[in-house]
Every structure is written in C-alpha cells, then in structure tokens.
C-alpha cells in the first residue's frame, strides 16, 4: 500500500471547497428482530438467535416489526422530516454469504421519512444539515474472515458467519449534500454524528455504540474548485467507527482529493475504507464494478400506511430534544457553550444532571465528572456513564467535601474506593479512615507543634512574608498524612502568627 500524496489542509481549503454527505446506519434497540421474533441481544453465542425467517430458509416469510416502524417514525419526526402516507419495502438483490436470502429487505424510492434537517453547533455557530431520507431495513449477518492479511474475504483461508445480527432492524439516515462548511467540514461531520447520536439516545431507540457497530457512518466527500458551483466526483468512506475517525476521515479525503485534483488527476467514484491506525483511506470497490441491485417492491410485505392521527400522537410524545435540553441546562448550570460541548463529548451531561438531581451543586457535579472521573474513565477506556459509581454517590462525596469532612485529595481516595467496589462513600471513609483532622482545636494543636518545630519560618511570616505559610501548611499536611483541610490550616497558621 503506497502512501497517498496529500495536500496540506490549509492549502487544500484555499483552492477547493468541500461538499459533505453522511449516511448513518443505526441499529434499533427493539427487543426482537425486524421481520421475526428472534432476540437481538448483543454478544450472544454465534447463531443462537436465529430462526427460519432470519436464516432465510426456503418457504419462510417476513412480518414487519411494528415497534421498529414506530421508532423510525419518531426518528423522522425528531429530524423534522415528512412522514410518508404510504410506502413500501423493497428488495435489494446481491449475493453475499452473510446475507441469508441473497437480498436485503430495505426501502428504495419510497422511504418512510424524508426531507428534514438537523441543526448542529460548531464553534458557537449553527449549521443546518439537510436530511434527504430516513428508511428502515434489515441488517446482514456478520462475517469473520480467518487467515489472509487483510481480514477481508479475498485471501482468507475460510470465513465464519454469525447470523445473530441478520435481521436486526437498521435505520439508514442520509443527509443532503452539505455545502458551505468550508474549513469546518471535518468538525461539522463530527458534530452532526454527535448530535445524531444524542438524538437517538434521547429518543431511546438505540444504544448507538459506534464501537459495537450499532451506529455506523459512511462519509461522502467531494471537492469543487473555489469559485465553481459544480460538484466534483465524490468518494464514500466506510469503516469509520468513532466520532474522532469521522473528523479524521473527512480531513484526509479533502487532503487526498485536493492533491489529485491539483495534479490534474480525476477522482474515481468509489467506496473507500478508513484505517484507524494510519488515519488514511484506501480504495474499495469502484462504481464501475458496482452491483445492479435490481430493486423491486417486496412482494412478501404489505405497504406501510401510518395513520395520521397516530403520527401526530408520536410527534406530541417526543421527548425534549438534545439541543433544546442543552440550551436549558446551560442556563440552569451557568456554563459556557464550550464547557457544555466538552461535557457532551465526554458523555458527561447525563451523569452531571443526575448528580445535581441528587443534591450536588452544578459546579461540584461538573468538577467531579469532568475531572477525576473523566480521567479514570480515560485510563480504563470505559465510557463515563459506565464507571462503577452512581451520580448519587458522587453527590454524596461532594456533600462530604462541602461539610468539611473531606478535602479534595481525600475525596479522590473515596471515589477510588467506590470504584474499587468498597461500598458507599461513607463506608469507604469509615473503612479507610479518611477523615479530615478534626475541628480547629485538633488542627490547632498540630499547627502549634509545627510552629514550634519551624521557628525561622514562623518568624518570616510574623514579619509579613505571608507566602512562607505554604511551607508550614505542607508540614501540617505531612503531620496529618494529608487528612487536613489545607485551606483551613493556612487560615489558622496566619491567625496564630498575627498575619491574617
């Protein structure tokens, strides 16, 4: 694999304007599959959640999952789409071992939802991303190609197929071409995917875990020379499995395509694969060898004609959408858009909200989740919300600090204990003996001893060198093995030495 020539990003943006498109597949979190009653639990032993229908056995027939249709309509409504009055499923025909019927039941020219938009914020600016369509289809099985260098079917010694995933309801959300993002194209793509993920979570229709494949993005990028209004040839990049990768893939395609175009070359309309390790894309299947999918209306299913009153009921029942909610929380918590964005990216909004609900101040809640806990989540590679600590426990730790029982250092140790499964914060405090050295009286005795041990330093302070107090505070902390309130210790030291 030769490393492609790239044009530096700034130069590329100076000469070309990018046009973006994103196709997102979201696995719905319905209890059963799209066209049969099989369970959809992730991670079950291979080929244990299958039946004649999702295995495509001869004679079997699909029956559409009403819950999946409802979820798709909710998604469409949340994306400001029109909902089709009448539409059909269609068969997409192609041969592949992980597709049990050798056709996929999808939707073609009659999507369930169409013509909407999603507003996303990038650097405080609102970008409106048009939504072309939202349609419903079934997922394929999952192939594991064993042997060979690439992990792809070509060159593999043999392949294994797990049909547990076959027939899981999949919603495809396709944007309209997004123009005018200019140099923010990578950020816009990422912000769109982030916002979409938040939206899916708020609707409760999917767990949208990119690392488990329950949300997958394909990125379309094309360039047009500055001053032109004619779109260039686009590439479609697959295998983009994280929000960060989305940003990197867009940037890479801009740099790669710009280099080719500047060199007088042409962009081939093709599918490309993103490589997480190198941040590059490589050529997949080109459109010349592209399949003719021979779409036609699925004769085994009846058309979907959502009742208008029901659609309005669903609209009325939509939860508060993430962007609205963030605006509300920002004003309630008094945080900047940037801080909110950071919390959003870290997955901290829900935990912070719950911690506040459990009694903590917004500042405290944010401090613990975005600080110590975010660090620990990063270290262990665990999503923040999945750390073994509850918002109520965090709120309790914050309360212990506020009432003076703990200092921040001790609080961190308590959280460590909670994460290690040592019990509730109060239990950890008791078991580890983590308590600030008592009240002023007890602390005062320690300070008196420290002043007596360090007469030189004490004299400096008496003569007005207040900064020297740090040394005595350090000595107090050492003497109490860190279990003292450093701030209070400093106050008492200054008081005792007449420097307050």
């Amino acid at each position: 694999m030769t490393t492609p020539t790239l044009m530096p990003y700034d130069e590329a943006l100076g000469r070309f304007e990018p046009v973006l498109g994103v196709e997102t597949h979201v696995e719905l979190g319905t209890a059963s599959k799209m066209f049969c009653g099989c369970a959809t639990t992730f991670g079950a032993a291979p080929n244990t959640q299958v039946c004649p229908v999702c295995l495509g056995l001869p004679g079997s027939l699909p029956v559409a999952n009403a819950a999946a249709i409802e979820a798709t309509i909710k998604i469409g409504l949340a994306l400001n789409c029109s909902i089709a009055e009448w539409c059909r499923f269609a068969r997409k025909n192609y041969f592949y071992p992980d597709m049990p019927k050798d056709f996929q039941i999808s939707q073609y020219d009659e999507p369930l939802c169409f013509d909407g938009y999603l507003d996303v914020e990038v650097n405080g600016e609102v970008v409106r991303v048009g939504i072309e369509r939202v349609h419903l289809e079934e997922d394929t099985g999952k192939s594991l190609h064993v042997g060979g260098a690439t992990g792809r079917i070509h060159g593999a010694d043999y392949s294994l197929v797990d049909y547990n995933r076959a027939g899981i309801p999949l919603v495809e959300i396709v944007t309209k071409p997004v123009e005018g993002t200019d140099r923010l194209a990578p950020e816009v793509a990422r912000a769109y995917a982030t916002e979409l993920r938040e939206l899916m979570r708020a609707l409760g229709v999917s767990d949208v875990r990119m690392e488990e494949g329950s949300m997958r993005c394909d990125i379309n990028v094309s360039l047009m020379p500055r001053g032109s209004s004619e779109w260039g040839t686009r590439t479609e990049t697959k295998n983009v499995n994280s929000l960060r990768s989305i940003e990197r893939a867009v940037r890479h395609e801009i740099e790669r395509q710009a280099a080719i175009l500047a060199d007088g070359g042409t962009i081939i309309q093709e599918t490309r694969h993103f490589h997480e390790d190198t941040g590059e894309t490589t050529s997949g299947r080109s459109k010349e060898e592209a399949q003719d999918y021979r779409y036609f209306p699925e004769p085994d299913l009846v058309p979907i004609a959502p009742d208008r009153a029901w659609v309005e009921e669903l609209r009325a029942g939509l939860p508060e959408l993430p962007s609205v909610r963030r605006k509300r929380l920002r004003s309630e918590w008094g945080v900047s858009e940037l801080d909110m964005q950071a919390m959003l990216n870290a997955g901290a909004v829900e935990p912070v909200e719950a911690t506040i609900a459990a009694g903590a101040t917004p500042a405290d809640a944010r401090k613990w989740w975005m600080g110590e806990l975010a660090r620990r989540a990063n270290e262990s590679g665990t999503p923040l919300a999945e750390l073994a600590v509850t918002p109520a426990q965090v709120a309790r730790v914050a309360a212990l600090v506020a009432e003076g029982t703990l200092n921040d250092k001790l609080a961190r140790q308590v959280l460590e204990g909670v994460l290690a499964g040592e019990g509730e914060p109060d239990e950890v405090v008791a078991a580890r003996g983590l308590k600030i050295v008592g009240g002023d009286e007890e602390l005062g005795a320690v300070i008196d001893q420290v002043i007596a041990d360090n007469p030189d330093v004490a004299d400096k302070i008496r003569s007005g060198k207040v900064a020297a107090a740090g040394a005595l505070v350090g000595a107090v902390m050492k003497a109490t093995r860190g279990q003292a309130d450093a701030g209070r210790a400093r106050e008492l030291i200054l008081e005792k030495l007449g420097a307050a």
Binding site: P58, G59, L61, V63, P100, I153, Y295, P299, V302
Partner: protein, 496 residues
C-alpha cells in the same frame, strides 16, 4: 367398493363412525401407491411409517372419545414444495435434494391439526415452474388417463396421485394455473383460492405475489373440505387476509345456480383452442342455462396481455426468491475443494443444481429487473396487472362468476413441449389472469374431448373472497353432468 375409490367425505364419515379405521384407510392407499406409482410416479417421497403413525394417533384419539374434524384420518398427498419437518422437501430440484426443513409450513401444520394423514410428497416441475412435471429433476409424472401424457403441472404429482386413486386428496400451489391446469387434464377438481386466503408460510416461493396453495380432489365437496381445513388467516404471512374463510363447504353442498349470472370470457376461444375442448365448454354453458343460470358473453380485452405480463412478473420475483440457493447454508454444494472462492462455489452450485427452465426464468427475471429495463418490463407488467383487475371489476358488475375452458387443449404428450417453452406457456393462457389479480378460480371436469377421449376442464372464476361461488357453480355442474353420465368422469379412465 374399495376404500381407495371412496370420496374423502365418505372416508371421513366411515372413520368417524368406526366402520373403518384410519390405519386401514391409510394402508389401503399405501398399497395402491405400491401397486401403481412405478407407472404414475406421482410421489417423490412416500412416508409409510409416519403416515401409519399419524393414522394410529387419529384412531387412538377417536377411541378416547375426542371430537375430530370431518377429514380426520383421511389421507392426503402433499406437494413437495411445502416444508415438512419430518420429510425431505426438494421442490423437484437437485439443488434441494436431501434437504430436510427444520419446520412445518402453515399448510402442513394445519393438515396435521385437522388429523389428515400425509402419505408423502408429490412430484412437481422444478420450483413449480412448468405445466407438465417435465421439469422435475426427478423425472416426470404420468397422466393416469394415458401414461404417455403429462398430468399437467406444476402440481402434476398431486393431480396424478388423486386421479390414480393413490390419495383422495392432495395439495397444490397455483402461480399461473399450477392447480387448475393439472386438475383439468387429469379429470379432477382443483381450486386456486383467493390470494391471501391460504397461507404461503413454508411454501417455497416461486413468485410471491402470485403463489397460492389450494386443494385437489375427485369431487367438489371434497375439495371444499380440504380448502376449509388448511385455509384462513396466518399471522406468519403478511399477505394473508385477516377475514373468515368464505363458506366453501356450504356452497359445495348448495350446488344451485338458479338466478346466477354467468359470464363467458369472449377472449378465451378461437385459434389455438382444441375443438373438443370448445365443444365440451359450450355444452357446459348450455347446461348452466338449463339449470336456471343466465349466461352472457363478457369481454375482458386486457386478458390478452396477461400471459406476457405474467412472464415478466413471475420470473422477476423468482430471480430474487431463488437467489438464496447459494450453497452456503443448505442444499447442494458444488466445487468446494478449498481452492475456490465463495462466489465460484455459488456459481458452480447454481449451474449444476438448477434445471434449464429455472435458469431460463432466473435470466428473464434478472434482465427484467435490471437498471434501465425495470420500467419497460416489470413496471409495464404491473400496469397490465391493474388493467386486468379493472376488466375483472367491470365484469363482476354484470355477472357473479366468469367461465372459460381451463386449458386450451387436453393433456399433451410427455416431452412434447419440452423444447418449446412458448407452447408450454400457452397451457396457462386462461388461468393466469386470476393469479395476476388474486381472484378465486376452480377447475371442474366437464367431459372428454372427442378427438382423444381425454378430460376437459371448466374454469369458474369469482371475485376476491368469492371462493364460495366457485364451489357453488362447480358443484352444480358436477351434479348435473354426473347424473347425465351416470357415474363420475374418472370411472371412464382406463385401469392402471
């Protein structure tokens, strides 16, 4: 009278009264199969053990005082396109040879639930594509009236089994005439119910929007009893109609056409129709008049486009439905020697496993659905379908049922049309319109053609969910003709 000459209704009653056991009835038919099936070749699989076990079960339940249905203990031959958890299901194809499904089709399950004893699986044109059983990978079935002739198709094993007294009842599927045409050329009754009136779940799909399971019997009442036994709404089939089964048994018993308006489809006559067929059809029209019906001529101009439309729609759907036979999960696998890719194994398997007619239709359908051709072929064909529906609707404003010959000719010779697909396709000329619109239609015997002394069928078509009308008119014709002949038509068939 031998048990195998009895009607299904009689056998059911005899078993119910204890006059004869289900085991005796089953054994009599198994004996008959052993005696004649090497000549007829109606069966691909005879399930001797499981049939006798089922019969014993019926006898035991009867003895225990359980209330059973009218067909409990009566044998049935089952077309080998319905899945059966305890028998192979081949669809007449090498590609599925030896495949044993893990599940029962809804029709299969309902046969069992009604206490019917499944004798075995019957021969068919591969994946129900054909009008002769010439296209079966396992050799053709033979017409009991003349063993050198076809028993029709695709459900030819089922028609032959009933006509040869190997079973009083059998199941079939009708996509373009695959029940009615075999019934007509073997002198028995065959009914295509309203599309969606009988479940397709577990019926291996040929053309999903057309396939319809239906019954064969030697008389109209028996057909109605079997129809009732396996029909009705099935939540596993989205295209199944959620309404009660029309009162078919009651209609078969009513057998009265006085005051009914009957339309003769003008377009189904003339060139290509055998004179003996037209003569018997005309007599049937006169007979209906004499029974008090009003017979009028009706024009359905779009019907002439039905055949070409059908040969775009059915192959298109088939090309997609048959894609799954790819050697990956079940059935035949060719060329898997460790050196070939999955794609090559798929191609080699499909080349070896499908017969020429199946390949022809897959190619036709793949072409018709291709990008750039879809609108001109599949799209146009769907429009024709709408026109035919309108013709039917207009006709049913004037009449209660429409009638025509079931097929333009009597049974042709085995192999005669094997190399001439167009001639073969013409066998379904009169039956196809009802498939395109989902209407109900039945074929009942109306005599023998003068030229060849072979059976002629009368087709009676009724609107969607008007299945009872088919039985009502069919039973009236049957009763009048039998009283004229003094015996059922099949009594004239030569002994095997």
């Amino acid at each position: 009278m031998s048990l195998t000459r009895r009607t299904a209704a009689e056998l059911g009653a005899m078993i119910a009264s204890g006059e004869v056991s289900a085991v005796e009835v089953t054994q009599a038919h198994l004996d008959r199969i052993a005696e004649v099936d090497d000549k007829v070749h109606a069966f691909l699989h005879v399930a001797t053990e499981s049939a006798l076990a089922q019969a014993r079960d019926v006898d035991a339940r009867r003895a225990a005082g359980e209330e059973l249905g009218p067909l409990a203990g009566v044998p049935v031959a089952h077309k080998d396109i319905f899945t059966t958890a305890d028998m192979p299901t081949t669809c007449g194809s090498k590609i599925l040879e030896g495949w044993q499904p893990p599940y029962d089709a809804t029709v299969t399950a309902r046969l069992r639930a009604a206490g019917l004893v499944i004798l075995g699986k019957t021969n068919l044109d591969e994946f129900a594509m054909g009008s002769s059983t010439d296209n079966s990978a396992f050799g053709p079935s033979h017409n009991p009236w003349d063993l050198t002739r076809v028993p029709g198709g695709s459900s030819g094993g089922s028609s032959a089994a009933v006509a040869a007294f190997e079973a009083p009842l059998s199941t079939g599927t009708d996509t373009g005439g695959s029940i009615r045409q075999p019934a007509a050329v073997t002198g028995i009754v065959g009914m295509k119910p309203t599309y969606g009136g009988s479940s397709r779940y577990g019926l291996v799909a040929f053309a999903s929007s057309l396939d319809t399971p239906g019954p064969f019997a030697r008389n109209v009442l028996d057909a109605a009893l079997l129809h009732e036994a396996f029909s009705g709404h099935d939540p596993l089939d989205s295209t199944s109609i959620d309404q009660p089964v029309p009162p078919v048994v009651e209609a078969a018993r009513q057998a009265d056409v006085s005051g009914m308006r009957i339309g003769v489809v003008k377009e189904f006559s003339g060139e290509g129709y055998q004179p003996g067929v037209l003569a018997r059809f005309q007599e049937a029209c006169d007979l209906l008049e004499s029974l008090g019906a009003k017979v009028v001529e009706v024009s359905c101009p779009s019907f002439t486009y039905a055949l070409p439309a059908y040969y775009l729609i059915a192959p298109s759907e088939a090309s997609s439905n048959l894609a799954r036979f790819d050697a990956m999960r079940y059935g035949l696998r060719v060329g898997d020697d460790g050196t070939r890719s999955a794609e090559e194994v798929m191609a080699l398997t499909r080349a070896a496993g499908f017969g020429p007619e199946v390949k022809r239709r897959i190619m036709l359908g793949t072409y018709a659905l291709s990008s750039g051709y879809y609108d001109a072929y599949y799209g146009q064909a769907q429009k024709v379908r709408t026109l035919i529906t309108r013709d039917f609707e207009a006709a049913y404003e004037q009449v209660d049922v429409l009638i025509s010959p079931t097929t333009p000719t009597t049974a042709f010779r085995i192999g005669e049309r094997a190399d001439d697909p167009m001639a073969m396709y013409l066998a379904d000329l009169c039956t196809i319109p009802s498939n395109l619109t989902g209407n109900a239609a039945i074929s009942v015997p109306c005599g023998l053609a003068d030229e060849d002394d072979l059976p002629v069928g009368l087709q009676i078509m009724a609107p969607v969910l008007g299945d009872d009308r088919c039985y009502r008119v069919g039973a009236a014709v049957e009763a009048a003709l039998q009283s004229r002949w003094g015996a059922p038509l099949l009594d004239k068939a030569p002994a095997l």
